[in-house]
Amino acid sequence: MSSETNKILTTDGIPLEESLKKAERKNKIKAFLLVCPLLLFLIITYVFPIGEMFTRSIDDKMITNMLPNTFKSMESWDGQDMPEESVFENFYIDFKKLVENKEHGKLAQRLNKEKNGFNTILKKLFRQIQRNKIDENGSFKDQITSLHKRFNDIEYWRAIKRTAPPYTMAKYLKGMDLFIDENGGIAQVEEDRRIHRILWLRTLEIAFFVTVFCFLMGYPIAHLLATLPMKYSNLLMICVLLPFWTSLLVRTASWMILLQQQGIVNDFFVMIGLVSDDNRPEMMYNKVGTYVAMTQILLPFMVLPLYSVMKTISPSLMRAGKSLGGTPFVAFWKVYFPLTIPGIGAGCLLVFILAIGYYITPALVGGASGTLISNQIAYHMKTTLDWSFASAMGLMLLTGVLVVYWIYNKLVGVDNIKLG
């Protein structure tokens, strides 16, 4: 049976299949053009910056180009003893060139990020060169090491050697308190500087518990909202939304006034005799404060998706469950709860993702435990200008979120998310 015998033709003689394809293609192009602005928007505001962040986090070419001779002579240096004269000589040659181009400050900045303390000693060397105090016929090693005791510290030279590769994963390692040692292996940083792992765990812990608390509090509220008669539910809805429209800092500050040791809640406890005056519980400037303030701030993000899902569940389903012999709990657990899972997924993901990047509220109410990984990112963005490290940590955070998303997909299925 050949296909030609089956071909159906339109009135103007073109095969129907072809004409249909043509019409569809037009529609497809139209549809594509319609989503084009959004696609462009996503590429410009999302894909491109993340790509840029990634290159920034691994790109270390700048210093590779600044100290070409030094790195070359360092290739044969094993990093066990102080480097030889040739390394010092080449370092001097490279540095002098940078001074001539007024780029020595950039080098000092970059090296200070690798090991603190470079700023001062490179400025010293800069001043010596400016005043022509370095004798180019003498031993560079002796002259440079006599400038400052740090030049005599092998750790500083190891730090320079570490920056040689044009691309590096060092920033990611640093984000986990690791570094590449002089043998090329991965080692832990000194014990009293291992801070990032603590911060990651703390960030995850806080985000996790805030999500749990939001869920425990948001679920009943959303249920009430969905089932109460309109006139009450509207009022309740306003109660949920009102704080949502209030400035974040105002809400945080109000919690501070309420919960601090000399605050209103504690005053009330003392007044009714629950606690004695000099034994007031600490509910602020610790993790309790962080949990309370963040849960309240993020609660609407849990309530709203839950509400929109619950609103679509017919009340007759629960009644049917009960009439088939289930206790109210069984009817809820077997009928109602499974139907709300898409809302739970959406709410939990939203809250968790927002919580993991939070830092202003914890910094204000969290006391000694108020520093989270996002504070560290902001610090390196704003103060040290170590944008590559900030990018690396930002991407690690993003990866963390994607992992949560992946786990969620495995457990519940992304298709089940329902935002409204």
């Binding site: 500087r193 601090q260 963005m381």
Partner: protein, 371 residues
């Protein structure tokens, strides 16, 4: 009607572009501080030079200007920055380098600008604006006795109760060592010498840790400048380190029962930096020279208790007391640089912090995590 609105919109847009092209834009910290800058020397300079000076708020750090520069769309001319930001910004080539005696007018008595500054500039890209103090205060209603020294801040036996300290290592390590018995020396150089060593850092951390874990003491970490007076007034803490301008405002402005202690204070600075390739660099340079002259700088002390960077400005204040805007408060005793307040002090060392900030910050956080 619709056409008219459109036209109006287009016009206002064009207008906003043209006005901003002739105005000098200064980015500063906002709040009462920017208010003092605007009223003290911003507005007078603008009217004298016949230009417009716009004040915009920013939250510190160089990330924004660096981003503006990388994007090739610089919108700020002058930025109010910390010392280490001027060093970093100078190194990164963001700011214009100055020749101080040429670019800035001399004092009325003829002292060249560079000799008239309270302390030398941390970099060639900075011109001093004010000095402020990291001192501490207590609430006299909640403290029995009168704390007088920085040692008293750490003395929980004599003055039991919680203390509020800044959330980062900056100045905390210095006061810890000053309280632990290290004499600051000239400008605090002995403190910084001690902090250069592992042992000194450990000593400072231990001192803070002892205060925070003491059942008689305890620490609240503050992050916003408004917090210390608030924490003192609510009785949450008995003593708090903070910025003297904020304490002054609480005492004079709101009548709070707070007392400032100047012993062991850290003097810190604010600078102006001129952005290289800013939208209006030439006017900005002129405006900057005028805003930081003797008369103009003294003007800001009318509105806030921070000391002008120029020594000669203090004479202007002294001659015209009471200088504060309410017409009855003498400002000289409130100046962090006043002789009575600088008997035992240290100058916050921007080079030390530019060098060691990251490492000490990590150690500080690790110490805090163990509290």
């Amino acid at each position: 009607m619709k056409k008219l609105t459109k036209l109006f919109l287009a016009l206002s847009f064009a207008l906003s572009i043209t006005t901003s092209a002739f105005a000098v834009t200064v980015a500063s910290w906002g709040g009462a501080y920017t208010e003092s800058q605007k009223l003290g020397y911003g507005d007078p300079t603008a009217s004298k030079l016949g230009i417009e000076i716009n004040w915009v708020d920013y939250s510190g750090g160089l990330s924004e200007i660096k981003a503006q520069k990388e994007a090739g769309a610089i919108t700020w001319d002058i930025i109010d920055v910390f010392a280490f930001d001027t060093i970093n910004g100078c190194d990164e080539g963001i700011f214009v380098e100055f020749d101080f005696d040429k670019d800035f007018p001399a004092a009325p008595d003829g002292t060249p600008a560079s000799k008239d500054f309270f302390a030398p500039m941390p970099s060639k890209c900075a011109v001093g604006n004010i000095l402020y103090s990291w001192n501490y205060a207590y609430n006299k209603n909640n403290v029995k006795g009168t704390p007088k020294t920085i040692k008293d801040f750490f003395n929980t036996k004599k003055f039991p109760g919680k203390r509020a300290i800044y959330k980062s290592a900056l100045t905390n390590l210095e006061i810890a060592l000053a309280a632990d018995g290290i004499k600051p020396g000239k400008g605090g150089e002995k403190i910084y010498k001690a902090l250069e060593t592992e042992k000194g850092v450990q000593r400072a951390m231990d001192k803070i840790k002892a205060l925070c874990t003491d059942p008689q003491g305890g620490c609240v970490f503050w992050s916003a400048g408004a917090q210390p007076p608030e924490l003192l007034m609510s009785g949450e803490v008995v003593m708090a380190t903070g910025w003297n301008g904020r304490f002054f405002n609480a005492i004079v402005g709101e009548g709070a029962p707070l007392v400032q202690v100047w012993d062991g204070q850290g003097l810190d600075y604010e600078y102006f930096a001129l952005v290289k390739g800013g939208p209006n660099e030439a006017d900005a340079k002129k405006a900057l020279a005028m805003m930081t002259n003797t008369e103009m700088l003294a003007g800001s002390a009318k509105y806030i208790a921070y000391a002008p960077y120029r020594i000669s400005s203090l004479d202007v204040i002294k001659k015209n007391e009471p200088w504060y805007k309410d017409g009855k408060t003498e400002m000289m005793p409130q100046m962090p640089t006043a002789p009575n307040n600088t008997k035992n002090y240290f100058l916050v060392d921007p080079f030390f912090w530019a060098d060691n900030g990251t490492e000490l910050g990590e150690k500080w956080e690790a110490m805090k995590a163990g509290l």
